[in-house]
Point group: C2
Chain length 114, copies 2
DNA sequence: GAAAAATGCAACCAAGGGGTTGCATCAATT
DNA sequence: AATTGATGCAACCCCTTGGTTGCATTTTTC
């Protein structure tokens, strides 16, 4: 076996909060903004959405805890930037799942043809 | 442009509930079970987790509304099966996002080197 | 040094989510 | 037809979440 614990319970508990962070339209919008538009400040980000600055702050904190975004202070303002590593994790997790599915299908096929 | 509205707001509202459905450890566990172990009934699935059958039912309904799972009646029991199509959607969405990121990086690089 | 801009912090609120218990139904089996 | 097994339905509970308002704090900037 090359991937012994590919979808172990431990990995589930790691992946769940990651997907949960992606599971909100506003947060996805924030990620898109930070992806395409480069690092931005909270107030500038807020101007692109129809919710309060404080709401955006909370969303950014959620994204930050999920590792999808990171912030740094610069003087009186705080700059938020996209963090691509964690997105790759989510990507890999989905791939593992669909791989598992393919394996199961192949197994079924082999069984039927026997 | 080959992907005119790659990350339009409309797509955000489509992707968010999908990721939200994936954002729970129990639900991810259910998907893994249905992926690897083939179609199963609610009661059999429940035996693999430490929550009530009704809780599992609710989770399955969430997954069903997200299009990640589908059910069919067979006599007195209801069979739940994994549905791979929608997982591909999630996968593509993540790819679009990281692509956007790559493009932005390339743009930045070009700008710096000018 | 005072006004303005960008955040931070806290309390509060309504709604949704994950979970439970209890009971009703519906189908299979003997 | 009576029992047993698999679901379905509904009410209820507690905690989280997304959102708000109001005010304090920290830097700029004039």
């Amino acid at each position: 076996m090359s991937r012994p614990e590919a979808l172990s319970p431990a990995r589930l508990k790691d992946a769940a909060p990651l997907f949960a962070a992606l599971g909100d339209a506003t947060r996805l919008g924030l990620l898109v903004s930070l992806c395409a538009g480069g690092p931005l400040t909270v107030t500038r980000l807020s101007s692109q959405f129809d919710v309060t600055r404080q709401a955006i702050t909370k969303h950014l904190e959620v994204l930050s805890e999920a590792g999808l975004v990171k912030s740094s202070r610069q003087g009186r303002e705080r700059i938020w930037a996209f963090e691509p590593k964690r997105l790759e994790d989510a990507h890999q997790y989905l791939e593992r799942l669909s791989k598992e599915w393919d394996v199961a299908l192949a197994r079924l096929k082999a069984f039927v043809e026997t």
